[in-house]
């Protein structure tokens, strides 16, 4: 309290001097330029892909710094006494002193205490932080000097060098192929082992929508000449059934293989996605291409692959959509979204990030002009065409529209209350009948609604938006399983650089681990032992959902916080002599 009160006069002086010494702006600008090379480095390191943006940032940053510098020089002029200040102001004061002789300085007396900071530094970056950072982990790791030098070197090297590195990366990829083989082998081993039968019936892994025995039932009903959608057991889409029917013609032994291959395909797509994304994000810097490994080695994914969960089709579709939107292919990316929508409805929200990514890749501005509208309507039209095509093909498989109520209607109505890892099942089990429709609307709108605010907020970072929407889908969909979480978790690896900003990693990790391990235990206690009741399992699904919500919102927070730091510098501005706290307002 006392400190701040004392600081007020100092600040007043500073402000007064800034207004007085406007002419020194040029000087401060020069000063700023002196330190520019360091500043630029950091900017570039953290900046985005396009150069213009970077320049903008630089300007902003520059003006900000100059203000600071001005205030600093003002302070110096005021003779507050920095004995060690290296250089005197090189310019003579352009204005005559306002105060004539009797007062050597505007202050009647010298400052009661020395200014606490060693220098009115023009830019804070090249210097170590003069005060402890208010954040638990500083993003200082990002600006390791080695990395900077590495980058510099690389910049010097020409395209040959880049090519050489790509070769190297490919070799690395080959090295990682071994890991790929192990994932492949582990899946094959598990899928042909008795573990499979156990996993197939796990409600954590397969929901009524994706359960393998329901697909088998569909195939069996088709074999007996009964429409699979005349009952309420089969909720698989006709085209997927058609795929399996086709495979059945060849051999039933191919079913497990299809799932393994599908899973590896998702892994490969994510690998490509990660490399493309990293190229897009930081043109030359190699980001760790861990997301595919993250996907393929995730026990959730292995589990749902072995359990023959057909969520794999959604995951392939989503990964395809994201990869090809980064490649700028309208047709293929919308095909991915359309397949995802067709298979599990919720990926329709991914249309927004896909459009934005395509716009970014194709350099279409996010403005309301003719070009943009044309482009967006082109993408949407292509999506609609694909969807209509898929639905039409489905109609031709069984010559009836029954599948719509059995698949999409079933997703929306939540008529099957079999427990899963989501929030819907117990809520609607215990719901009062006359409120059921109302809450059904609330919950379903909730699942789709997050698309709008997130799209508006993250319109400049559509890839991250896609990741966020995948997470939201995995939490809010009506029949989620562990396999749904695998994809957003894998995508998170693309944003490893924001991890230092995460606030409650430990809690989320613990909650996820606990719920993953306790879910089968409580299920066993409730269903088989009879020593627990439904509330036990419900508590676990609540914890699981909460953990996912916390993780997602935390990642979003971290991302926005980092964005803020990119624009404003990692050290907060000084307000009243103390570092300002950065809060959401």
């Amino acid at each position: 309290m006392r400190g701040t009160l004392l600081l007020i006069p100092c600040l007043l002086v500073v402000v007064a001097l800034v207004t007085l010494t406007e002419g020194k702006f040029v000087a401060s600008k020069n000063q700023d330029q002196d330190t520019d090379n360091h500043g630029l480095d950091t900017h570039e390191h953290e900046s985005h892909d396009n150069e213009s943006h970077e320049e903008d940032e630089e300007e902003e940053e520059g003006s900000f710094d100059s203000e600071r510098a001005a205030s600093g020089s003002g302070a110096k002029d005021a003779n507050v006494g920095y004995p060690g200040y290296p250089y005197p102001s090189p310019y003579p004061a352009p204005y005559p002193a306002r105060y004539p002789a009797p007062y050597p300085s505007p202050y009647p007396y010298p400052a009661p205490y020395p200014y606490p900071y060693p220098a009115p530094y023009p830019s804070p970056y090249p210097y170590p932080s003069p005060y402890p950072s208010p954040y638990p982990t500083t993003p200082r790791t990002i600006i390791l000097p080695q990395k900077i030098t590495k980058r510099k070197k690389r910049r010097k090297k020409g395209e040959e060098e880049i090519q050489r590195q790509e070769r190297q990366r490919r070799q690395e990829g080959k090295g990682k192929l071994k890991r790929k083989e192990t994932t492949f082998a582990s899946r094959l081993f598990l899928i042909y082992s008795p573990v499979k039968d156990w996993l197939i019936n796990r409600i954590e892994l397969s929901t009524p929508l994706t359960a393998w025995n329901r697909v088998q039932e569909g195939l069996s009903l088709v074999k007996h000449g009964v429409s699979p959608y005349s009952g309420d057991v089969v909720h698989e889409t006709p085209l997927v059934l058609a795929v399996f029917l086709g495979l059945q013609e060849v051999s039933e032994l191919l079913f497990p293989l299809l799932f393994v291959v599908g899973d590896l395909l998702v892994g490969w797509l994510l690998y490509k996605l990660a490399s493309l994304h990293s190229q897009m994000l930081l043109k030359e810097q190699t980001l760790n291409l861990k997301s595919y490994a993250n996907y393929l080695l995730n026990p959730y994914t292995i589990g749902s692959c072995v359990a023959h969960s057909t969520v794999i089709f959604t995951n392939v579709a989503v990964a395809t959509a994201l990869l090809f939107s980064l490649r700028g292919s309208i047709l293929l990316s919308t095909l991915g979204v359309a397949i995802g929508t067709y298979h599990s409805l919720y990926p329709v929200t991914l249309l927004a990030p896909v459009i934005l990514i395509l716009m970014k890749v194709r350099c279409v501005d996010i403005e309301f002009n003719k070009k943009t509208v044309m482009f967006v309507s082109q993408v949407v039209a292509s999506f609609i065409v694909w969807t209509v095509l898929l639905l039409g093909m489905s109609y031709h498989v069984f010559k009836s529209w029954d599948f719509l109520t059995a698949t999409h209607g079933f997703i929306l109505q939540v008529s099957d209350l079999t427990p899963n890892m989501g929030l819907f099942w117990y809520f609607f089990t215990e719901m009062f009948e006359h409120f059921r429709i109302f809450f059904l609307w609330v919950f379903q709108i909730n699942a789709f609604f997050y698309c709008i605010p997130l799209t508006i907020k993250l319109r400049d970072n559509p890839t991250f938006l896609a990741c966020m929407l995948c997470s939201v889908m995995a939490i809010m969909k009506s029949y989620p399983a562990l396999g749904d979480t695998a994809l957003p978790l894998a995508l998170l690896a693309l944003w490893m650089h924001i991890f230092p900003y995460l606030r409650n990693t430990l809690m989320v990790t613990c909650m996820l681990l606990c719920s993953s391990f306790l879910a089968p235990v409580f299920w066993q206690l409730w269903i088989y032992a009879g020593s627990a009741n439904a509330n036990f399992f419900f508590a676990i699904t609540l914890a699981y959902s909460t953990a996912q919500i916390l993780l997602t919102s935390d990642v979003l927070f971290a991302f926005l916080r980092r964005e803020y730091d990119l624009h404003h510098g990692i050290y907060p501005p000084i307000m009243q002599g103390e570092p300002a706290s950065v809060i959401l307002r």
């Binding site: 309290m1 009160l5 006069p9 007043l12 202050y107 208010p134 019936n201 025995n213 039932e217 195939l219 007996h224 009964v226 005349s230 009952g231 309420d232 057991v233 008529s415 099957d416 209350l417 079999t418 427990p419 929030l423 117990y426 809520f427 089990t429 215990e430 719901m431 009948e433 919950f443 997050y450 605010p453 997130l454 508006i456 809010m476 409730w526 088989y528 009741n533 439904a534 509330n535 419900f538 609540l542 959902s545 909460t546 919500i549 916390l550 919102s553 979003l556 926005l560 803020y564 907060p572 501005p573 009243q576 103390e578 570092p579 300002a580 706290s581 950065v582 809060i583 959401l584 307002r585």
Partner: protein, 588 residues
């Protein structure tokens, strides 16, 4: 006296002429000693009314045919109706075949007239409501969730036109949980012309009637032909009451029985309105009279089953035995064992059914169907319905006999719709000779809403019996009416056809479903909504605000304001810092 009687007769004649319809009533009681020492008693009351069931105008004048029932079947355009209310499970392996098979609980199957083909479902629901009132049974709980229309089982038993075999006119439903008691018997008795005032119904002493091993009342209505050329039709209403009694439960230590011991009273009268009033006792197993004795004296009725095998029955004509002029004449059949053979011939076809698996997640249902015929394979129709909350997986259906897979000839499947219709499975398969065929299917248990559970949720849910229908050639231990006759033992002595249509009902099953916690709907709603609110809150917060640098010392919000106020107050009171600031200002 004679004059009065004569005028009464003339009156009657006049009445019958004016109505121009004829109806007759028969009452019969068939008793069979079983190998286990039990006694099977089957009462059958038959009313035959010479009207065409399709002629709705004919259903306005009633004589012997019960009016309340006639109005119901006319109102809902019923052509054939079979209702049974049963307590207990018939043990085919030990008891042989009953005259009419019935599953535990209530079973109703109805063929509607083809003129109501468009509105069968409305008629069905109206009929179940009406019958529910008529018989004081919970038949009103029959809805689309329990109703089926089997394609192969439950064929018509009466006259059928060629178009009438379309199963869209058939509705079948079973309520396995239904309990049967005197409240069902009383309205059933009221349909009889003599009620329980006279005739064989006087044996119905409610206290003893329900302390039995098996008890089943049935109402069967069908159109029949008046003559062999089938130019005119009649309506036949059969009301039957079957029971399996244990003589040991009626006191004493022997399996010997009499009417007095089993029913508490002898037969004191015949129904005066009945054309036939007869009691039969099966004495086929009493070869050379060494096994038991039956008294009083009887006349023997024989029936040729096969060329080698004959069935013999002791017959008492109640109308002749009980002389109204002698006040104390009664009929009390006394049955005494000499030597009881505990081993009998098991029936050719019988079945068992049971639930497999453990836990409340999944399970299976296995049926064992026995064909004891040494040489002949037997084609049977297996019909089973499962409630919608059992998610039956057809791909797990296995039919095996002696380790070999049997390929069914026909499979009809109607998959269940949630809260709409049950799962129906109908299989036509051929049982190999002298074999046990195992038919099993797996299911997952559905999760019901908390309001869909009955008050005693942990009791479990009943699964209605499977029905196995077949045509048996010359069954040894089957006694029943032939399809052509209305009586158990037609007086003209026609032998039943070589093939007998047979219907078996297996056991009903009890399955416990996983239950939610019924006590805390509010808590669950609150908790789930809280998690949703966490999500909404954090996303709303992050997407509607932006980061800003603020003075860390200046705390905002209510607490901050309060703090600032307090600080101001403090400054005012102590006036310490107040001095400093004006000084500075002055200096400026």
């Amino acid at each position: 006296m004679a004059a009065v009687g004569g005028s009464f007769a003339v009156c009657l004649l006049f009445l019958s002429c004016s109505l121009a319809v004829k109806d007759v009533f028969h009452e019969e009681l068939f008793m069979r000693p079983l190998k286990t020492g039990h006694v099977y008693a089957h009462f059958q009351f038959t009313t035959v009314w010479d009207v065409d069931i399709r002629d709705s105008k004919a259903f306005s004048h009633y004589n012997l045919f019960p009016k309340s029932f006639g109005q119901i079947i006319n109102q809902y355009s019923v052509e054939e109706l079979h209702l049974s209310l049963t307590q207990g499970q018939w043990q085919h392996e030990q008891w042989g075949y009953p005259v009419t098979s019935a599953p535990p609980g209530a079973e109703l199957w109805v063929w509607f007239q083809d003129r109501v083909e468009e509105s069968v479902d409305e008629n069905w629901s109206g009929l179940t409501q009406a019958l529910s009132g008529q018989f004081c049974a919970s038949l009103n709980f029959i809805d689309s969730k329990t109703t089926t229309s089997p394609k192969l089982s439950f064929r018509r038993e009466g006259v059928a036109s060629a178009a009438g075999t379309n199963s869209s006119l058939l509705r079948h439903a079973a309520l396995p949980r239904e309990l049967v008691c005197t409240e069902n018997l009383t309205p059933w008795k009221k349909l009889l012309p003599c009620d329980s005032k006279a005739g064989l119904t006087t044996l119905f002493y409610s206290l003893l009637l329900y302390s039995v091993n098996y008890h089943s009342i049935g109402v069967h209505l069908r159109p029949i032909c008046q003559d062999p050329s089938c130019s005119q039709f009649s309506v036949e209403l059969v009301q039957s009451l079957s029971m399996v009694l244990d003589p040991l439960l009626r006191g004493g230590s022997k399996f010997d029985w009499s009417f007095k011991r089993l029913f508490g009273r002898p037969i004191k009268s015949a129904c005066p309105l009945a054309t036939t009033s007869k009691v039969y006792v099966d004495i086929s197993s009493n070869k050379s009279g060494s096994e038991f004795t039956v008294s009083p004296a009887f006349s023997t009725v024989s029936r040729q089953v096969t060329q080698q095998h004959q069935q013999h029955f002791a017959m008492y004509d109640v109308k002749q035995i009980i002389n109204p002029s002698v006040s104390e004449s009664t009929l009390n059949v006394v049955f005494k064992w000499k030597r009881r053979a505990t081993q009998g011939i098991p029936p050719q076809l019988y079945a068992q059914r049971f639930v497999t698996g453990y836990g409340e997640e999944k399970g299976g249902i296995t049926s064992l169907i026995h064909n004891r015929h040494p040489t002949d394979p037997l084609p049977v129709v297996y019909f089973a319905t499962f409630p919608w909350f059992l998610r039956i997986f057809l791909h797990t259906l296995t039919i095996k006999s002696a380790g070999k897979d049997i390929k069914p000839d026909i499979i009809h499947v109607t998959p269940a719709k949630d809260r709409m219709r049950p799962y129906t499975l109908e299989i036509l398969l051929t049982l190999p000779a002298n074999s046990v065929t195992e038919l099993s299917i797996q299911f997952h248990k559905g999760f019901l809403k908390w309001t869909e559970h009955p008050p005693d949720a942990h009791h479990g849910f009943y699964i209605s019996s499977a029905v196995i229908s077949t045509k048996l050639r010359s069954p040894l231990n089957y006694t029943g009416p032939s399809r052509q006759s209305s009586l158990l033992f037609p007086s003209d002595g026609t032998t039943p056809g070589e093939e007998v249509f047979l219907c078996l009902h297996t056991e009903i099953l009890l399955i416990s479903l996983p239950t939610p916690d019924f006590s805390m709907p509010y808590n669950v709603i609150c908790l789930a909504c809280t998690v949703m609110a966490i999500a909404f809150g954090s996303f709303h917060n992050l997407s509607s605000r932006r980061f800003e640098a603020v003075d860390s010392t200046k705390s905002t919000g209510l607490i901050g304001k309060v703090k600032a106020m307090l600080a101001k107050l403090k400054g005012k009171i102590f006036g310490k810092k107040k001095e400093e600031i004006p000084e500075e200002k002055k200096a400026n």
